[in-house]
């Protein structure tokens, strides 16, 4: 079956199901109750059908029913137009056929209750356990697919994910929970919600903390036998047989702690977020050589974020929203690697690189809403976001055995920047069948030329249940401090980097049939000035070293960020979701097909790791009462290119599709008030992903090759897993 035929079958099945769905007396009310209300797309509360972008809402009920344990899971199994690829480090998140390997979430903006999580030093956001939000506190996720810089500035190139936490009325009392995944992980958390009056004002407090720990599974990497120009042992204490690979039992680990506190009182709201995330580096990649299965090589993020806001209604025309925020972010990485690969020192076996970085941000945002006709039909929003950033970083090169530095501290960064971002948005609802939204934001960054991010959108409603949308939008990503200014043993500074840009145009039609909804859309986007690492020429390296911008000692394979690429991309999205049997049976199918090509110099090729066809499907049956809810979800990633050739100068291989199925059962424990359970099992195939694994000799010898190394292998996929969980909601009884 061709891809087009597959999507056509999905659409026809959706229409048939919609047509045969039972239309009961209350179906119109149920249909209205099933409408998504979003706040992210235009920073105001509106029906998703009028929002100026394609949006997806994933509810807390979905998260629990489908066995979701991370935002990456939620996106993968329940999202439309968005896709996750797991390299066994932190997941890569993409949208509509654009997915960048080792991206660390830089091209998606992650918000928690409207507060940006992407850090100022690396621009990264984690979508796994490192996201920093206890999952049981999440009320819903809003995913805006497509450029979103018009209101949110940098990073929102692929989209915006806004995590909304529960209100006290939906999280009252106390809550404890935990789950256990044999041989892999466990998670435990607690939270509480309470409503009260403070100085006469209606107030509420919700908070939760969570600890997550991953200690497996064991990962099997196909052995690679090296003969020359490679270390005799790739693992400290391992056999000196020149073999890279085998079973990694120690390096695939993670510990994550997170806490959220949300206080609302009168017109004030305070959000305090704290998180820590330490994770292993289970295998060498295209950009990182690391000792095989080394438990001492790890990365760690930690962050504290504070957001204080006030909503004031000055008159029936004027409302003012004020927000002050502050972020502190820290990062550490310790990387042990064989000396012959990473530092070419004959007097030591293992060299250790220890990176430390931190950033601080304070900011103030003022937003004025002018509701000219007083009825919400013509609203002007004017805002300005002012922030100051500070960034520091350094890298030490150590002899693993002595702990002593073998070279001077490098990568010293101590920088400061400011960003002033005025923005405006105009919404107009002149007649019942038309909504207009136009806006623009100008980001004036002290490090770059100003960037304008406009957006224009129309929503037409020829009938109450039909919506046509068309929109044009632009977004950008400012190069991070780590891309422009870091100068260490692997990366050269890159002054003169320009922000990445994306321009996107899209159209969609949405039709509702009672409690069924069908959506089909088309999109086209053009990316320019893509920032990526490229090898630094010997001449440039010497020049930078002479200028004192690079350490005099550097291992082979030093690279530099540059504006080296562009992407062209177009495709279609299709979605069908609905419910029957008075909402007891809920289901949905999402599919995206995209044609994506990246141009770098004279090369034009598909994006590595990014599938051009992907989607998911789900169905859940909730009989009610004490009977459990059964839910089955599946996800599919079509064939895609690997992230690099398996041997030097060979063609990049294409790997086959990947599918995963997950069956989850949830319910209340009979006769024990407030106690609930969840059990889930997942199967995935095939056994390997599109990420290659193995030492990168190009990093070790500057790309020179006289003896062919063995072919690289692929990183494994966790093919079968299962977990069980238990929770207790007490003192409020509304923990769902």
């Amino acid at each position: 079956m061709t891809r087009g035929a597959f999507l056509a079958h999905v659409a026809i099945a959706a229409l048939l199901l919609a047509a045969t769905a039972h239309a009961g007396d209350t179906s119109e009310i149920e249909s209205l109750l099933d409408e998504n209300v979003v706040t992210t797309a235009s920073a105001t509360t509106e029906r998703a059908s009028v929002a100026p972008a394609t949006s997806v809402t994933i509810t807390a009920e979905d998260l629990r029913a489908y066995g979701v344990r991370s935002f990456a899971d939620a996106i993968q199994f329940l999202g439309l137009g968005v896709v996750v690829s797991d390299p066994l480090r932190t997941p890569d998140v993409g949208a509509r056929g654009v997915l960048l390997e080792n991206d660390d979430g830089k091209h998606f903006l992650l918000l928690v209750n409207g507060h940006a999580i992407n850090d100022a030093l690396y621009g990264a956001a984690r979508f796994d356990a490192g996201a920093g939000v206890p999952l049981e506190l999440v009320d819903h996720l809003e995913i805006i697919v497509g450029p979103g810089s018009v209101l949110y500035g940098s990073n929102a190139m692929m989209g915006v994910v806004n995590v909304i936490t529960k209100r006290a009325r939906d999280y009252s009392g106390g809550h404890v929970y935990g789950d256990f995944e044999p041989g892999r992980s466990y998670r435990a958390g607690a939270g509480a919600g309470v409503s009260f009056r403070l100085f006469g004002a209606s107030s509420e407090l919700t908070s939760a903390v969570e600890h997550y720990e991953r200690f497996g599974p064991d990962l099997d990497f196909a052995p690679q036998q090296f003969v020359q120009r490679a270390p005799s042992a790739f693992r400290r204490g391992g056999p000196a047989d020149g073999v890279w690979g085998g079973t990694a039992r120690d390096a695939y680990f993670a510990q994550a702690e997170s806490g959220v506190l949300r206080l609302r009182s009168g017109d004030f709201e305070v959000n305090l977020l704290a998180s820590s995330y330490r994770r292993g580096l289970p295998y060498s990649t295209e950009t990182t050589n690391v000792d095989f299965d080394d438990a001492d090589s790890w990365e760690r993020d930690h962050a504290v974020r504070l957001d204080v806001r006030h909503e004031g209604t000055l008159s029936s025309v004027v409302a003012l929203s004020s927000r002050a925020y502050a972020d502190a972010f820290g990062y550490q990485r310790r990387l042990d690697a064989p000396s012959s690969l990473a530092c070419l020192r004959s007097d030591m076996t293992t060299c250790t690189y220890h990176d430390v970085g931190r950033s601080r941000t304070i900011g103030l945002e003022e937003r004025l809403s002018l509701n000219w006709l007083r009825d919400g039909r013509l609203v002007t929003m004017l805002g300005v976001d002012v922030r100051e950033n500070w960034a520091q970083a350094k890298e030490d090169a150590l002899d693993f055995d002595t702990g002593q530095p073998f070279a001077p501290t490098a990568g010293l960064l101590d920088a400061h920047g400011s960003i002033v971002s005025p923005y405006a948005q105009q919404t107009y609802h002149p007649v019942t069948w038309l909504d207009v939204n136009a806006g623009a934001r100008l980001d004036v960054d002290s490090r770059f030329s100003p960037v304008l991010s406009p957006r224009g959108a129309l929503a037409l409603h020829p009938g109450r249940t039909t919506t046509f949308k068309a929109s044009y939008s632009e977004a950008f990503r400012a190069p991070t401090w780590s891309e422009t200014s870091l100068a260490n043993y692997r990366i050269a500074p890159a002054a003169g980097l320009r922000p990445e840009r994306v321009r996107s145009i899209e159209g969609s039609v949405e039709q509702r049939f009672g409690t069924q909804r069908v959506l089909a859309g088309v999109f086209r986007s053009a990316w320019s000035d893509l920032v990526a690492l490229e090898p630094l020429s010997a001449a440039s390296q010497i020049e930078l070293q002479n200028e004192g911008k690079l350490p005099l000692f550097t291992p082979p394979g030093i690279a530099q960020f540059g504006n080296v690429g562009s992407i062209e991309n177009y495709g279609i999205d299709a979605s069908f979701e609905g419910s029957v049997a008075e909402g007891r049976v809920r289901y949905g199918v999402n599919a995206t097909e995209a044609y994506t090509r990246r141009t770098t110099g004279a090369d034009r090729m598909p994006l590595p790791v990014a599938p051009e066809l992907f989607g998911n499907a789900r169905i859940a049956y909730a009989p009610g009462g004490v009977l459990p809810t059964l839910a089955l979800a599946a996800t599919y990633l079509g064939k895609r290119a690997a992230d690099r050739p398996l041997t030097p100068l060979a063609a990049v291989p294409v790997v086959g599709p990947l599918a995963e199925f997950r069956l989850t059962i949830t319910g209340a424990v009979p006769h024990v008030p407030g106690v609930w359970y969840r059990a889930s099992a997942a199967l995935a195939a095939p056994a390997t992903s599109a990420y290659t694994a193995g030492p990168n000799l190009a990093l070790a010898n500057g790309g020179a090759s006289t003896n062919a190394p063995p072919p690289l292998g692929f990183a494994p996929v966790d093919r079968a897993s299962a977990f069980v969980g238990l929770g207790w909601d007490f003192g409020g009884g509304q923990g769902k």
Partner: protein
């Protein structure tokens, strides 16, 4: 420091003009559509409304947020062709006292009273005044349900949820069928 000073100043200017925070609320046009459809499932609605659905939008005099909610709700109603299958007329009414509200509801055969923010201190008196009168009171904020208002709407997981004070509904002769009651969250005072 200048940033923070400006922030504090702006808060100071706004602080005395605001009332209780409501967070994200269900869009008014969605509330209005739901109300219109719900009316068809209220066994008392036809007799209550007669030939014209009269909607009173109750505001707190001098309260800007109350005015803002009222204007948006009235605008949403104006886009609704028929309310529960009937023509409708809406008016914004400043709240003076509970007996006057009760008299107006009785005399004008008001079918729906929409209670806006700013009236929190009056909710108990409004509840008392409307008890025994055939009228549906609707809350602009979900917190009002359980404090004296019969019906309200809240956002739960990004979707609208109906909330009802069933006991008060009976006191005001609001008589929804079981088919829609099971779609509602019932709260108690």
């Amino acid at each position: 420091m200048r940033l923070w000073a400006a922030f504090v100043l702006i808060w100071g200017l706004c602080a005395d003009r605001s009332a209780a925070a409501e967070g994200a609320v269900v869009p008014a046009e969605l509330e209005v559509e739901l109300l219109s459809k719900l009316s068809l499932h209220d066994r008392s609605f036809a007799a209550r409304a007669g030939e014209l659905v009269r909607v009173v939008i109750l505001v707190k005099p001098g309260n800007t947020r109350s005015d803002a909610f009222a204007a948006v709700f009235k605008g949403a109603l104006s886009e609704l062709d028929r309310f529960g299958g009937l023509p409708h007329a809406e008016s914004v009414v400043p709240y003076t006292n509970a007996p006057a509200l009760a008299k107006r509801c009785r005399d004008d055969r008001v079918a729906v009273v929409y209670v806006t923010p700013g009236l929190e201190p009056e909710l108990e008196r409004i509840r008392g005044a409307l008890t025994g009168i055939d009228v549906l009171s609707v809350a602009a904020l979900p917190e009002f349900v359980g404090e004296g208002v019969v019906l309200g709407f809240a956002l739960l997981s990004g979707k609208p949820k109906m909330i009802i004070d069933y006991e008060q509904a009976k006191q005001q002769n609001v008589n929804f069928g079981a088919d829609v009651l099971k779609l509602m969250k019932v709260v108690a005072r």
